[in-house]
């Protein structure tokens, strides 16, 4: 397990390094001169030069990258071009909303999709099975932000005053209100993934249920409920766990869009606002943080998968992976 963890970590490092290189390249190709922008209107040439020196813009590009990376690693992503707030502060401000939205959506996906998939597998051709098929096609066809707009139209125009459809309350301040506010955006965000995960659960379940050890368990007179819940489900969930890693990434990316429909001040609205102000240090900061989380989530899923399935660990021990 330790060997596997170290190997996967070692693979993640060069990727993160390259991600930082891309982020830096984008920062430098973005239009406009950050020094002039930061100095503000009516600044003297000396002031601009002073800021240029402070931002290391008077050095060569490789030097700039090394200095920028050093600062980024120590938690300094520069200042916002407009408010001069440190970018990390802004990100720390907005990050919780996005994470809470994505996690709520993830919980919804798991709570809805897994039981649905199991039901669909147990009664093939039944109602749950049809629902899974409809959900997976519908989830593909209707993007989450469109569904979100449908919710806003429904609760903002047709049935007003029943359910909040704008704004964000943190779980830390008021859990009940937080859930009420996050339910609609999380449902919209989760919808495209529910069908996909339900389908994986269904096929995983069907796969496992046809295996001999299940027949053996049944022959020994183990109650069906236990066969399904204890013996089959655990093995059927392996592919689902892998998929949840991908799903988490998609939810994080999707929340960038959905936040803008529901007026949630998270990373997504920060990203959009940063373009409006041509505030590229913030743009790149958002991109870096989301990529970092995405890589870490995938790493965590790989490790989790190894923890559940001994065969994967064995593969790493033999050096096959």
């Amino acid at each position: 397990m330790i060997r596997m963890t170290l190997l996967r970590l070692a693979q993640a490092v060069p990727v993160l390094f390259a991600v930082s290189l891309i982020a830096f390249a984008l920062l430098r190709t973005a239009p406009g001169d950050p020094a002039i922008t930061l100095a503000g209107v009516g600044a003297s040439q000396e002031q601009v030069d002073a800021i240029r020196h402070e931002l290391h813009l008077d050095r060569s590009l490789p030097e700039q990258y090394v200095l920028w990376l050093q600062e980024a690693l120590s938690g300094d992503l520069g200042d916002s071009y407009t408010t001069r707030q440190p970018v990390t502060e802004l990100l720390a401000d907005r990050f919780p909303a996005t994470v809470q939205l994505a996690l709520t959506a993830l919980v919804l996906v798991i709570v809805i999709a897994v039981p649905l998939g199991v039901l669909a597998a147990l009664r093939r051709g039944g109602a749950a099975d049809h629902l899974v098929r409809i959900l997976s096609l519908g989830g593909l066809a209707v993007p989450s932000f469109v569904l979100g707009m449908g919710f806003v139209l429904l609760f903002g125009w047709y049935v007003t005053g029943v359910w909040p459809y704008q704004g964000f309350v943190a779980y830390g301040t008021d859990p009940v209100e937080a859930f009420r506010h996050l339910l609609l955006p999380a449902l919209a965000l989760a919808f495209p993934q529910i069908g996909v995960v339900a389908r994986t659960t269904r096929s995983g379940m069907l796969d496992v249920l046809s295996q001999e050890y299940i027949t053996a368990a049944r022959a020994f007179g183990v109650p069906e409920r236990r066969v399904v819940a204890a013996d089959a489900l655990r093995n059927a969930l392996l592919p689902v766990v892998t998929q949840l890693g991908v799903v988490t990434g998609l939810l994080l990316g999707g929340s960038v869009i959905v936040e803008n429909v529901f007026g949630i001040n998270g990373m997504g609205s920060l990203l959009v606002a940063s373009f409006g102000e041509r505030n590229y240090s913030v743009t790149v900061g958002v991109m870096l943080v989301i990529a970092l989380v995405f890589v870490l989530v995938n790493l965590a899923v790989d490790l989790l998968y190894g923890a559940i399935d001994p065969r994967i660990r064995a593969g790493y021990r033999k050096g096959e992976a």
Binding site: L16, L153, V272, F275, R278, Y280, A291, F294
Partner: protein, 349 residues
Amino acid sequence: MIPAQSSLPSGPAAGPERVLGRLRAAAAPVGRAARLMTRRPAGICATVLVVLLAAVVLVGPWLAPDPNAQTAAPLTAPSGDHWMGTDNTGRDVLARFVAGARISLLVALVCTAAATVVGTLIGMAAALRAGGRFDILTMRLTDVVMAFPLLVLVPVLSGVFTQKGIAVGPVELDNVAIMAIAIGIALTPVFVRLARASALAEVRKDYMTAARCLGARRRDLVFGNLLPNIATPIVVQAAFSVAVAIIVEASVSFLGLGIQPPDASWGTLLTDARSQLLLGAWWLILFPTLGIAAAVLALTLLGDELRDLLDPRMRRTFHGKPRRRAPQPEAATEPAGRSADGELEEEIR
């Protein structure tokens, strides 16, 4: 691979007849595919939707009025005059829907086509030098691009480059082109991986070794033998990728970072709808959504059907009955082994 011409009557056929015959031979697989596509309900759905969308894109603009003309009263619900209603500045939504379909589908098709071609070429090249420097570099690069969620990478790329502007030589790229490039870059790694994995599996097979031993030229080996055998999963993935591209375009344009107004795309139509939601303008959101849903469903069903049709295990049904070979007088006198070799040689050439 038996060349298509071999099934044609050779000999002194008249010019026009020969051209016609060739055309018929070239169209035959299309007709067969069309017949097979319409055999199952899902295939019929996909075919009908694709034909409808193609009609909207190709014929629509000549029938629909100017998408930017502010001729009607603002925010009227669908009626006989304006089948999809009007938006908040009095523009006809149907006209904008048709113009939007053109841009949305164009962007999706162009970027997927580019990603498919470039990704497949890179993937095959990586597989042919598996473990080499190029292979390792490419795989790490795909890791890096895939380290960004699609809905973060595409808006950042298109946003930065739309504001900065890129020129290829004297031609300044507009944001439709930039959007297509941004989505294309984000979609390419999937094709690189897919082509590489499929090619790696094929390269080890006997027919490839045989072709190599017979001294086939590299170009023929790759494009004549390898490519046709890895094409199936790539074609299927391309169909799904067009669907993904449509959704990504709509999402990013909705954020205001993709297609810029007054150009219409299904995404920008939804941006317009967003500000009118609390006025109950349901028609502004319904119709672009239907457009997106129809296109995505069509392509997903198409991808599923293609997968079934092109699957090697289904190939017999796809090509109909096994092809009957024309009797060749000299074949009888020659030893069987030699004729097989000759055929193989011909195939490589």
